[in-house]
């Protein structure tokens, strides 16, 4: 046992604003050094980032489109984190759901009026996402396997399952041999706004984020969840059925990732392609990690990561660097937050 009383010296990093300033400046500085080392002007790069994000209504719309997926996949990471589990499988859950929705929307629901079909398609997406998450639940709860490793492996498996289907049975016979499904019936697509690719999906994403916050902080269920996340032994002694709560929450997070997949298809894409929605699940996990799994703060976090992702294309055109370069900047932000961020309350 350490004497906690003697341990109370204040540290420079205890000032929150200083920490936020470091988290903001250090990545920009380090990334700048990296660019200079390759003979690229950082000023040009940062200017490109700003213009390619705020350049027009369309580019801002692109940020919102990405933020839509990121908010949802972040929620899929936040909920399990609150019951002491980590869901790194948002990617697989989202894309499997997208494939299911693309198939359902182009076959059985193709002739059904939108009022009935669209809600049902959301149900299809949520069920598919929850089912894929369910595999991880079985691995974790029945077989006692580590859920992070399981969900990571399941992401790779999902990727190859989708490739197998898109190059095989699901390939559009009139699609010029591209690996993609038949397009979803046009009356089932979500409405777009402002001449951008922003769809009704963003409102769904915001509603889900608020709902997650309300459930977590304003309901009995949420209180139980936070008890489980805070102290599992205490939760068990107070009569919570730990495994049941964890399993249901994990499946629900799969369903939320499934909503992201549904919006991907009914919103922007219209059909499933092999790289549709790629990295949005991983980035959602990081979006959540960046703000310490807070559902409300995940919204600005998603907008920031979405903006940096959009900027990648602009930077590629302006400087000739690969778009993945922006990933370095995003990860630098995250790593700085991890390095200088505050300690968790229950530590």
């Amino acid at each position: 046992m350490k004497l906690q009383l003697l341990d109370k010296k204040t540290h420079l990093l205890d000032h929150m604003w200083l920490r936020i300033l470091i988290c903001f400046l250090a990545p920009i500085f380090l990334f700048g050094i990296l660019l200079v080392s390759q003979g690229i002007s950082p000023i040009l790069a940062y200017k490109t980032i700003v213009t390619s994000v705020f350049g027009s209504t369309y580019t801002i719309g692109e940020v919102v489109v990405r933020a839509t997926y990121l908010i949802l996949t972040a929620m899929a990471a936040i909920l399990p984190a609150r019951v002491g589990l980590a869901n790194a499988g948002g990617e697989g859950q989202m894309t499997i759901a997208a494939t299911a929705v693309a198939v359902a929307g182009s076959t059985i629901f193709a002739e059904v009026p939108a009022v009935i079909a669209v809600p049902l398609l959301f149900v299809v997406g949520m069920l598919a996402g929850a089912a894929w998450a369910g595999i991880a639940v079985i691995c974790k709860q029945l077989l006692n396997m580590n859920e992070i490793l399981c969900t990571i492996l399941l992401n790779y498996i999902a990727e190859y399952v989708i490739c197998f289907l898109l190059y095989g049975v699901l390939k559009d016979p009139h699609g010029w041999n591209y690996p993609q499904t038949v397009e979803v019936a046009s009356h089932l697509r979500l409405p777009r706004y402002f001449g951008t690719r922003v769809t009704f999906g963003i409102f769904i994403a915001l509603a889900v984020a608020i709902l997650v916050w309300v459930v977590l902080y304003k309901t009995r269920v949420g209180f139980t969840m936070r008890t489980v996340g805070g102290n599992q032994t205490a939760a068990r002694f107070s009569g919570v059925r730990l495994k049941r709560v964890q399993s249901l929450v994990f499946a629900a997070s799969g369903a939320i990732a499934g909503i992201a997949g549904t919006i991907l298809i009914l919103g922007v894409e219209g059909r499933m392609r092999t790289d549709a929605g790629a990295t949005m699940g991983f980035m959602g996990f990081l979006t959540a990690g960046m703000v310490g799994n807070s559902p409300i703060w995940a919204i600005p976090s998603a907008l920031l990561i979405g903006a940096l992702d959009v900027a990648g294309n602009g930077v590629e055109i302006a400087t000739g660097l690969p778009a993945a370069t922006m990933q370095i900047l995003i990860m630098l932000v995250l790593l700085t937050i991890m390095a200088v961020g505050g300690k968790k309350k229950h530590e």
Partner: protein, 299 residues
């Protein structure tokens, strides 16, 4: 017969990167830290190693450079997981994306470039043995080293004082501290060793196995390595079996594709990941292996 030799030979060269990462992460896990970042370290090693080998033509230099950068990435993991006490799985996961970004950035001019060097080095006399000769003894120096690696790691972990100290940190760091050692320093060393070994695996992969650099070429092999440490029950001498089983899965995938067997390549590409998941499921049903005490807290 020739098919058998092809399959065996590529089983070994496909299994070697996993063997390096597996032994590396195993050492790290014995000290109580899971290095999910071995995936990233392999990628950094593959990229830095390929760039060095393509410019200098020296495998030794390539390996040294890769070890340095793999070690630096592992240092980040050590800092976040040990000093800052972050969730070691999350920090490792983020570092992998960091590695993907960095290697895509620095490796962009080496995409599609040929290496212009062949590092295969037949061991004299031994390479004339039928079957074994052209498969086991007709590889590159890094692969020969990998044959010894699990035994060396076993000897280190169970027969030397430093190795036992390292294991004691994974079981009961208080005791290590009471004996007058620094558990955190030992953990730092273990995590960095994990990254360095994984980086050597990366070099073998890009300069010998694929002989080219491609973005994100490690593609989950590091995660597989991290996962199958459980299969070895944290015993280094058992690392051969899972590593070469996954090498075999990959060798068969290429083999079936070349032979035109009508199985979708995506099904065969999925096999290593599916096998890992299935193997973990089976081991968890059969018995609970002797897990280092410190890892029990997080799993």
């Amino acid at each position: 017969m020739n098919d058998l030799i092809t399959i065996l030979s590529s089983t070994i060269s496909a299994g070697t990167p996993i063997l390096f990462a597996l032994v590396g992460d195993l050492i790290g896990q014995r000290a109580g830290i899971i290095s999910l970042n071995v995936e990233g370290c392999m990628l950094v090693g593959a990229c830095a190693g390929f760039m060095t080998a393509a410019t200098t033509g020296s495998l030794l230099l390539a390996t040294l450079v890769a070890m340095i950068f793999g070690g630096l990435l592992a240092l980040c993991q050590a800092f976040l997981a040990i000093t800052r006490k972050r969730n070691m799985m999350a920090s490792g996961f983020i570092l992998n994306f960091f590695a993907v970004g960095l290697t895509t950035f620095f490796g962009r001019n080496f995409l599609g470039r040929s290496l212009g060097a062949d590092f295969t080095w037949d061991i004299p006399i031994l390479c004339e043995i039928p079957v074994l000769g052209p498969t086991v003894f007709s590889q590159d120096p890094l692969t020969y080293f990998s044959y010894l690696l699990p035994i060396l790691a076993w000897f280190f972990l169970t027969r030397t004082k430093s190795g036992l100290l390292l294991c004691s940190v994974g079981e009961a760091p208080e005791v290590t501290e009471a004996c007058g050692y620094h558990p955190k320093r030992i953990q730092y060393a273990a995590v960095i060793a994990a990254g360095v070994l994984a980086a050597i695996g990366g070099v073998q992969m890009s300069t010998v196995y694929t002989i080219s650099w491609a973005n994100d070429m490690v593609n989950g092999r590091g995660f597989i390595a991290s996962a199958v440490v459980v299969l070895c029950a944290w015993k280094a001498e058992r690392a051969y079996i899972p590593a070469y089983i996954f090498g075999l899965a990959q060798a068969l995938q290429v083999f079936l594709q070349v032979k035109g067997v009508p199985i979708s390549m995506y099904v065969t590409m999925m096999m290593p990941y599916l096998m890992t998941l299935a193997a973990l499921a089976i081991i968890s049903i059969s018995k609970k292996p002797a897990m280092p005490e410190k890892l029990k807290i997080i799993s």
